[in-house]
């Protein structure tokens, strides 16, 4: 499944739809270079989880926690260069905990992350235009994606 977003606002809306559908234990991985809107999508997911206030980039601190309908663990591998560094992070409590995990720059540590997840690859197309490609791994994420399609088709009607 692919979605073309024409603005940061649209990207946030896709995120919010994912946030509404999210369940405890969900892991959402985001890939794509600097400035493709990963944090923007994460802000939408947080909004969908009912989190008030701003969700800001975790690049500097590597992890920020929020409490909404479910806890949100917003993780960022931007600064990590080798997969062993991901192992040092001690992320298992978050990844296999009772909240929703979003991992930015997941490509830097795919081998250390749960095999079942929703991977979203984001790409810059034009100044405000982005492509979001969805790759579900496992039945939970197949289901999440079909619900997302349904939500979006209902919203269009």
């Amino acid at each position: 499944m692919k979605i073309i977003s024409n603005s940061a606002k649209q990207t946030r809306k896709v995120g919010a739809e994912l946030g509404w559908l999210a369940k405890a234990g969900d892991v959402i991985l985001l890939e794509g270079g600097l400035g493709v809107g990963k944090t923007c999508l994460a802000q939408g997911i947080a909004h969908g989880l009912g989190i008030d206030g701003y969700v800001i980039s975790p690049s500097f601190v590597l992890l920020r926690e929020y409490q909404g309908r479910l806890p949100l663990y917003h993780i960022d591998f931007y600064r990590l260069d080798r997969i062993e560094e991901v192992a040092y992070l001690g992320l298992d409590d978050y990844l296999y905990g009772g909240g929703v995990c979003i991992v930015e720059w997941a490509e830097k540590g795919l081998g250390m992350l749960p095999g079942e997840h929703l991977l979203i690859k984001m790409q810059h197309i034009a100044p405000a235009k982005r492509k979001l490609a969805f790759y579900p791994e496992g039945p939970r994420y197949e289901e999440m994606l079909s619900q997302l399609k349904l939500t979006r088709s209902v919203a269009r009607k």
């Binding site: 690049s59 601190v61 600064r79 040092y88």
Partner: protein, 332 residues
């Protein structure tokens, strides 16, 4: 009154003794920057392990440099948020143990509020009401302070913190870590010839640096930075243009808020407050007097924790033994 301050929220383990909130008797910082520079940033597990190794020697050194024994102290102040949970726990647990053993009041300190108190450690005492701009790797906050303990968060970043944008740009242009000083160094060799966007967010005191970061990415791509040898003059020009854009937004928005609230002073705080261009520009453009801490007090330190702790103690704000770490602690 002498207060022992302990700080371990991020990548520095620090302890200090400050008298009456204003006079530094000792200020010890064991930095992890060298360890982290190999990783291009802060790695939490490494940070907390390193804090454990450093914290007791750092406290001992702070007491001995200040020529103070535990019975000469009035309280122990410690950062309990915001920051990395594992790192914060090292400081908080030691502070609890020492306060219990030495029979001293324990004071939990918000790291962001403490950054403002770096300004009480200089020659001029701040005057209320004041506006504080806290700019660091994790935060960009504009705070109105009408008295000790009376803080109102006027604005904050909606996406990237200013210091984080410096780090990302430094990394993108291969200028080194920590990013702030690296961009500043490169900027001195360059000219701000590129016009980069400024997010004004009119009608709000909030900041946004994500669009600027994205603009730098696109510009660097267009100019083919990755194919050029390093260091090069194009990277220096981009760094200078980026730095100018950040400083322009920070100073313009701070000036507007200062005028609107009729403050008597403006204070800078946080790691980015060490940036020379920011310091010069803010002093030049603001109509009110500006206080800027000594650069060593801009970055994380424990003297600011002890100073802030003194004013909490005067107000009777003492923590119980159930003091917990709050990784997402907010201001105000």
């Amino acid at each position: 009154m002498k207060i022992l301050g302990i700080e371990s929220s991020c990548d520095e383990t620090a302890a200090a003794v400050v008298e009456d909130g204003t006079k530094i008797l000792s200020n010890i910082i064991a930095s992890q920057v060298e360890i982290h520079s190999r990783y291009g940033g802060i790695v939490p597990e490494i940070a907390s392990r390193q804090h454990l190794l450093s914290v007791i020697p750092v406290v001992e050194q702070a007491l001995s440099n200040a020529s103070v024994t535990p019975d000469g102290l009035s309280a122990i102040a410690v950062t309990n948020g915001p920051g990395l949970a594992g790192s914060l726990l090292v400081g908080v647990n030691l502070a609890k143990a020492l306060a219990l053993a030495w029979d001293l009041p324990l004071i939990g300190i918000n790291h962001l509020e403490a950054h403002i108190y770096a300004n009480w450690l200089g020659e001029d005492t701040p005057v209320f009401p004041l506006l504080a701009l806290i700019v660091s790797g994790g935060h960009t906050d504009l705070v109105l302070m009408s008295n000790h303990g009376e803080l109102l968060l006027l604005g904050r970043t909606r996406d990237d913190a200013a210091g984080e944008a410096f780090d990302k740009v430094a990394r993108m242009l291969e200028l080194g870590y920590p990013g702030g000083p690296a961009v500043e160094r490169a900027s001195r060799e360059g000219t701000p010839r590129y016009h980069l966007p400024r997010a004004w967010l009119k009608g709000s005191d909030d900041f946004s640096f994500s669009g600027l970061k994205t603009a730098v990415v696109r510009l660097a791509e267009e100019l083919g930075i990755s194919t050029m040898p390093h260091p090069n003059s194009v990277a220096a020009d981009i760094a200078a243009s980026f730095q100018r854009s950040v400083v322009d937004v920070l100073v313009t928005k701070t000036t507007a808020a200062a005028n609107r609230h009729g403050v008597k002073q403006v204070l800078l705080a946080g790691g980015v407050a060490a940036n020379e261009l920011l310091r010069e520009t803010v002093v030049r453009r603001l109509p009110t007097p500006v206080l800027v801490p000594d650069p060593v007090l801009c970055t994380d330190n424990a003297a600011m924790i002890a100073s802030c702790g003194y004013f909490h103690l005067l107000a009777g704000k003492v923590a119980g033994w159930d003091l917990d770490v709050i990784p997402g602690l907010k201001l105000g």
